[in-house]
Amino acid sequence: MVRHPGAIGSRPGKLKLAVWKFASCDGCQLSLLDCEDELLQLADNIDIAYFMEASSHAEPGPYDLSLVEGSITTSADAERIREVRKQSRVMVAIGACATAGGIQALRNFSDVEEFISAVYAHPEYIATLKTSTPASAHVTVDFELQGCPINKRQLLEVISAFLHRRAPQVPAHSVCIECKLRGNVCVWVAHGTPCMGPVTQAGCGAICPSYHRGCYGCYGPKENSNTTSLCHWWEQELGVEKVTVVENLRNFNAAAPVFDAASREWESRDEQE
């Protein structure tokens, strides 16, 4: 779905960009630094006012465009994301952490207290929430760019769309479409390899199937995802074990609502047996 790019006003001078980090690996911010050739062009067209990963020089808000990386895992961050929202005219969540809780959302399926006491010598020093949640669980987000990590072309597309007040071309359809556009041989049908492509949103360019392996869903659910049907076929026709089905749903986008619900459903089927 072409989502609404958000209310975009105009004012003279360069627009101000801020990049924020919450619980994440920094990979998505790196996608921005990785733009290399386009980075100078970016700096020419937007004032990079706050981007700690790149420079310790920080300009105060408000900001026209905020890119938010990372999920919310502490009460301090839950507070901070509200502050960021207040300072931002348009807020774009980037990456699996900010849009779906990230790999750290695996805690949502377990007991965090137990982890803490098992891992840390002084559990009392640890202050954390029981869940890892996307930015949208706390504040209004204007656009979500999915992926782990995000695709730098798509990121530039979102920024260009913002600068020139148009809807970004970020299709919400399946990876399968990209896979077929590339002329790949389907690894699911022709090799019997389980592939998450049919329920996963495009954007990566179908990298994994292009190297003859199954997609593992790092771009998160596509619109209108039918995980139940996919999981049935994996089990019944491709002979995939239940634990593998659950593992595939519980990757970087484990807390995306459709993947979350499907993995819980499959896991409880396991227990019933």
């Binding site: 779905m1 072409v2 386009e38 062009q41 970016l42 020419d44 067209n45 937007i46 530039l156 597309e157 920024i159 260009s160 769309a161 600068l163 020139h164 148009r166 071309q169 299709p171 919400a172 359809h173 399946s174 399968c176 479409i177 077929k180 556009l181 590339r182 002329g183 790949n184 041989v185 389907c186 699911w188 049908v189 022709a190 090799h191 592939c195 492509g197 049919p198 329920v199 003859h212 619109e223 209108n224 995802s225 039918n226 139940t228 049907s229 996919l230 049935h232 076929w233 026709e237």
Partner: protein
């Protein structure tokens, strides 16, 4: 029409003659565990000794010991990929002072020959011709690509379990215009092609080949091979009565079958991408960071996506039920009203390449059965 026999060992001569006439030759090759279409420069590029096994959501290439070059049904993808490009830049625009330069992108169109086109795929190309080259909304890029294609058809004697061209009246025997039409025959120790020229260009090529005359036993063996193919499809599970399907679908907009299929359908769009007749595309307009340069790209689209029917306020076909219904109703019903033909040629690709094995012949038969009981 001229008809001859070309010994299998002389297939290489045919290939080299076609190439020396200036054509880039496209044909079947084995790649990544499947038969696909790609450039052919010698007979050894062809899938000799390879066949395919196709079922719902299942495809495997398999070795056979026949030594045949064309012992498969239809390949992954289709000739569509060379005529209606999956992605192409349509134009680009550049800001210049107060004006704008818009440059149409006219890409190089190579003169191409297609080798091994099946009858179903010839029908599919003819259907796309009607949409893109003969209709009111001509697509110049398609028309230019299509214009000079040299068509070398090969009659199908090895249908897959998913094929149902006999139901759609599109095969297995070639009946539509080509330049050359061949039938591969392996009879006892003999391995040859019955070859017919159907055009001036075809005759020019035949002149350069080491041919022998067609005898009755050749025609008989050819006829037998084609009959066996027909019989295989007649006896298969995908034979259904296609008469009145259009009316059937028009009176069954509310069939419960749509709900049942929507439970399984992933709305992944593999079926429409694999289909040789599906012609839908979208355009994507983008600007760069400076806003001084813009581009328009055309790419294949599908009625299985939400964006496809997105208008102000949302997607008209938000549910999978409505998307599948749109797809099948277009293929088998509204296409007749639009283009005077069916939109389906019975090649079976949508059945094979559907990850969850949804089979339109089964779904039609389900609707037919329910319709009868009402």
């Amino acid at each position: 029409m001229q008809e001859f026999v070309l010994q299998a060992e002389h297939l290489e001569v045919l290939i080299q003659v076609v190439r020396s006439e200036g054509f880039q030759l496209m044909g079947p090759v084995v790649r990544n565990g499947a038969i696909t279409y790609d450039e052919i420069s010698t007979a050894s590029d062809l899938p000799r000794g390879w066949g395919d096994e196709q079922e719902k959501g299942y495809y495997r290439v398999s070795r056979n010991d026949s030594g045949a070059y064309f012992a498969y049904a239809v390949g992954v993808g289709s000739w569509k990929q060379f005529l209606q490009l999956p992605r192409r830049k349509v134009w680009e625009a550049h800001k210049k002072d107060d004006a704008m330069d818009i440059l149409e992108v006219l890409d190089e169109v190579p003169a191409r020959a297609f080798l091994g086109v099946r009858s179903c795929d010839l029908h599919a190309i003819a259907i796309q011709d009607r949409v893109f080259a003969e209709g009111q909304y001509r697509n110049e890029n398609y028309a230019r690509r299509r214009q000079n294609i040299l068509l070398i058809a090969v009659n199908c004697t090895t249908p897959a379990a998913t094929c149902f061209c006999t139901v759609m009246n599109t095969g297995p025997k070639v009946t539509t215009p080509t330049d050359l039409t061949m039938t591969e025959v392996i009879d006892h120790k003999e391995h040859y092609f019955v070859i017919r020229s159907e055009s001036q260009r075809g005759r020019e090529i035949l002149k350069q080949l080491p041919l022998s005359s067609l005898e009755e036993r050749h025609s008989l063996a050819e006829e037998q091979a084609l009959q066996a193919a027909v019989q295989k499809m007649q006896e298969g599970p995908r034979k259904f009565d296609s008469a009145g399907v259009k009316e059937l679908l028009y009176r069954n907009y509310d069939s419960p079958v749509w709900d049942q299929v929507a439970e399984r359908c992933l709305s992944c769009a593999n079926c429409t991408m694999a289909c040789p007749t599906c012609f839908c595309s979208t355009v994507e307009d983008t600007t760069d960071l400076t806003g001084e340069h813009a581009e328009r790209w055309e790419r294949w689209d599908s009625c299985f996506t939400g964006d496809f029917s997105y208008i102000s306020g949302g997607s008209v076909r938000a549910s999978t039920r409505s998307r599948y219904r749109q797809w099948m109703t277009h293929k088998l019903a509204t296409w007749h009203d639009q283009f005077d033909t069916s939109g389906c040629v019975g090649c079976g690709r949508c059945i094979t390449w559907c990850p969850v094995g949804i089979d339109l012949t089964e779904e039609v038969q389900r609707i037919q059965q329910l319709d009868k009981t009402l």
